[in-house]
């Protein structure tokens, strides 16, 4: 179901103003600095506050039309994973997770079963009979994720789902979310708040960047993250993204093949993107040929050179195949030594080990 | 004139602020209220303080060392408790009597005329519990007449009985004559001759530990004297 929201809200000196749509089956990532209004936005969608002015519709239903909540939180079919885990302290872990199915009318047995399923999905099956007070921070976060998913909501709202998770759990849960959010035939709309561009890339079709309560950037995830237009987005993102079709060991693009390390859920033949940071792109003079380990080499022409903190960011134009519009970060010394300037033809090299292949979403 | 009288009291009266603590049964509230005023008017600078509660409570308080000068009890049993504990100076004297009557709502809707009528099946009758004076009096009357009542409630004090009748909850209640008097036109009284079988005596005594034994004696005299007796009969008490 399509989520449509237009929100205006003032809280003390802070004011939020946002308008967006999330089509069915897609994920919108909301990025932004601390205090930019991300959690507030989710609260409005979940029906916890009435905005000062605005409308929220989900499919055919108008959930909020100021000045009234037309549909109460419990009738919205939302699942909210708030920033605090807030597990019910009096219920065991499995009953916490079974809470939503039970509330939505499933039998005791069926909802317990669903709960155990979701607990094993987040790798917390062995915690089922504990009380929340007996969990570590990361364990509680995993249980909270299971609880939000177990209700099979029409509208899923996730506030920093991967915070507090360790290096093994974070990719595993990211993979789980990807499976759940992108399951075939899924009509759910999801709004995901995160500070990590990888989450946005791995999970979201569209990105919306908030700053001080205003939408400063929006668009397809790969467009926003590969060509950020605000300094904040640039700092969290600024990655190279190349679109194509996944193959066994990399990505087939219109202009050639890129070797890379596929994420576990990439299927050969499916649309995918290759992601690599500008810092991992090496630049060589044109024609220089080297038999080194970097799998990916491609010819291009220097477009622009801009200082970017301590390094210089080079953007290519007119490249062979996929080299169009890539960014490479170089030290000023390297720029000087290679005598780079706009128009200089160069060869770019990127190690396959530095390239991640993710499934691609969106048009 | 009261103020002239006070100067006649000699050594005991006239000077300073003195308080006389009179412990009196709650049913004496009205009569003793009047006597308090009268006594204070006669004794300049004397403050009579009435401690009004159930007789048994007063007896406990006195036995636990309460600063009491005079004790006026609603029955002899509680006075005896104080006497036994050695708290009384001299002998207690009966200063008033009270007897039972049947209180009925105004107009006497159930047409009660005698004690025996109270045994009727369709009547809601309330009486006092046997532990309190009006209850033991009721029992005595029952024994004397051979009529056994089956009351809806055995109340802890006579006021509770009266209230039930006043509110129309009960069709009849056994109370004291004085209670009916003070209730005015809210209840009617149906007197019955057997009540004479169970006259309740009110004893009064000056207490051994009285801080103001002279004043206490004067108050004692006032109650037993003519004006005291007048006040008491105004509210319905009989004289011994």
């Amino acid at each position: 179901m399509t989520l449509h929201a237009e929100l205006e809200l003032t809280r003390g000196s802070f004011s939020l103003s946002a308008e967006f749509d999330v089509p069915p089956g897609t994920v919108l990532a909301v990025l932004g600095p601390n205090g930019s209004g991300k959690s507030t936005l989710l609260g409005c969608l979940a029906g916890l506050f009435v905005p000062d002015d605005g409308v929220v519709t989900l499919g055919e239903r108008t959930l909020t039309r100021t000045p009234r909540l037309l549909v109460q939180p419990h009738d919205r079919g939302v699942g909210l994973l708030a920033q605090d885990a807030l597990l019910f302290p009096h219920l065991s872990v499995v009953d916490n997770v079974a809470f939503a199915p039970r509330s939505r009318g499933a039998s005791r047995v069926a909802s317990r079963e669903a709960a155990r399923h979701w607990l094993s999905e987040v790798d917390a099956a062995e915690l089922a009979d504990r009380k929340p007070a007996q969990l570590s921070g990361g364990q509680a976060q995993r249980v909270a994720i299971a609880r939000a998913l177990a209700g099979e909501p029409d509208l899923l709202l996730l506030d920093e789902p991967l915070a507090a998770l360790d290096v093994d759990a974070a990719p595993a849960i990211r993979g789980l979310l990807r499976r759940v959010l992108r399951a075939a035939g899924n009509q759910r709309a999801t709004v995901l708040v995160t500070h990590d561009p990888l989450d946005a890339l791995a999970l979201a079709d569209h990105v919306l960047v908030l700053s001080r309560g205003r939408v400063v950037e929006r668009g397809l995830t790969r467009d926003v993250l590969s060509a950020p237009r605000t300094p904040f987005t640039a700092r969290i993102a600024g990655l190279n993204l190349v679109v194509g079709v996944a193959e066994e060991q990399g990505l087939r693009t219109a202009g050639g093949f890129i070797s890379g390390i596929p994420a576990p859920d990439v299927a050969a033949g499916e649309p995918a993107v290759a992601v690599f940071s500008p810092g991992s792109v090496a630049v060589y003079p044109e024609g220089e040929h080297s038999a080194g380990s970097p799998r990916n080499t491609v010819a291009a022409v220097v477009g622009a050179l801009e200082p970017h903190g301590a390094v210089v960011r080079l953007r290519t134009v007119d490249g062979d195949g996929w080299a169009e519009g890539l960014a490479a970060d170089l030290t000023p010394a390297a720029v000087a030594e290679l005598a780079l300037e706009p128009g200089t033809p160069v060869r770019l090299a990127v190690k396959a080990a530095a390239v991640a292949i993710h499934p691609a979403f969106g048009p | 004139g009261g103020s002239d009288g006070s100067s006649d009291e000699g050594s005991g009266g006239g000077d300073g602020n003195r308080t006389l603590n009179v412990f009196a049964a709650a049913s004496l509230t009205e009569a003793f209220g009047e006597l308090e005023k009268q006594f204070e008017a006669e004794h300049d600078g004397v403050d009579v303080r009435l401690n009004l509660a159930g007789s048994s409570q007063l007896a406990s308080q006195i036995n636990e060392g309460a600063p009491a000068d005079v004790f006026a009890s609603a029955n002899e049993k509680n006075m005896d408790k104080v006497v036994e504990a050695g708290g009384v100076e001299g002998q207690p004297e009966t200063f008033a009597t009270n007897k039972l009557t049947i209180a009925v709502p105004p107009g006497n809707p159930k047409g009660i005329t005698s004690f025996a009528d109270l045994a009727g099946d369709d009547l809601t009758v309330v009486v006092c519990a046997s532990q309190v004076p009006c209850g033991s009096a009721t029992e005595e009357v029952e024994q004397a007449t051979g009529v056994t009542l089956s009351p809806a409630s055995e109340e802890q004090d006579v006021k509770a009985v009266l209230t039930k009748v006043e509110l129309g909850e009960a069709d009849a209640g056994l109370v004291y004559v004085t209670d009916v008097t003070s209730a005015g036109d809210k209840v009617e009284s149906v007197e019955f001759p057997e009540a004479e079988q169970a006259i309740n005596d009110y004893p009064i005594a000056v207490l051994a530990e009285a801080g103001q034994s002279e004043l206490a004696q004067q108050f004692y005299d006032l109650v037993l004297g003519r004006s005291g007796q007048e006040e008491l009969s105004k509210v319905g008490f009989g004289t011994p």
Binding site: H74, P89, H90, A100, R104 | E154, L167, G168
Partner: protein, 254 residues
């Protein structure tokens, strides 16, 4: 530092009871305990106090939640109203009940005429009187705890699809258990000790409406020492009931 005032408070509560224990005539206890009047009163007291505690909980918990969670202004006024039975002298409370449910009272007349039911002088009247005086204790103590705890978990539950009744049953009440335990104990104790409203509204008839406090009062008229002994029985019973009935879950941290 805390122990000084805490100890004083404890002394204030405990010493008089110790004084009472010291003065009790233990020789008479067995006799009192086996008298049918005492046993009837004890049984009646337990039954009515438990019943009225149950009513207090069933009716009072929803009221406390509505009062604590409602944001409307009108509800704030209601809060003060709930306090009324607290400050009413119990005898006047009993009168108020008579005015309402007595034979000539507004509701009582209706009940009498339509259904032939008369409430005063019955055991039901005792339960009603006790519930009337005990309810505010439950409501007010719960309301304080509810306000202190906030509504975070209730909001979470509603986003998980729980309707208000489910939220109440599965989140509000379980989280409130410790306070509910305290509130129920207060109501039970108040109901068990209730005297004035009961005697005014329900009267005092052995086996029907004469609860233990009424029996104690009765005994006190005759003999203070036996009344004290009987009161000790009341204390022992209350402490036992509370100790047994207060489940571990209520005592432990949630």
């Amino acid at each position: 530092m805390l122990w000084i005032p805490a100890g004083l408070a404890l002394a204030l509560v405990v010493l008089p009871v110790v004084g009472l224990l010291a003065r009790t005539d233990y020789a008479r206890l067995p006799e009192l305990l086996t008298s049918s009047a005492s046993l009837n009163a004890l049984q009646l007291s337990l039954v009515t106090a438990v019943l009225s505690t149950v009513f207090c909980v069933l009716l009072g918990v929803p009221l406390a939640v509505v009062l604590a969670r409602s944001r409307s202004r009108g509800v704030r006024v209601l809060r003060a109203v709930v306090l009324l039975p607290l400050v009413l002298p119990p005898v006047v409370g009993g009168l108020a009940l008579l005015f309402l449910l007595g034979r000539n009272g507004f509701l009582g007349y209706l009940l009498d005429v339509t259904a032939g039911i008369r409430i005063p002088f019955t055991t039901a009247a005792v339960v009603i009187a006790q519930t009337f005086v005990a309810m505010p204790f439950l409501v007010v103590s719960l309301e304080g705890a509810l306000r202190g705890a906030g509504d975070r978990y209730e909001l979470v539950a509603s986003t998980l699809g729980a309707r208000p009744w489910t939220v109440f049953r599965r989140v509000t009440v379980p989280l409130l258990l410790p306070a509910l335990g305290s509130g129920a104990v207060l109501s039970f104790a108040r109901a068990l000790g209730e005297f004035g409203a009961t005697i005014t509204f329900a009267g005092s008839l052995e086996g029907v409406t004469r609860t233990l406090p009424l029996e104690v009062y009765n005994q006190a008229e005759a003999d203070v020492d036996s009344a004290v002994a009987l009161a000790l029985l009341l204390i022992v019973v209350a402490v036992l009931v509370i100790a047994v009935a207060r489940p571990r879950a209520v005592e432990g941290r949630p």
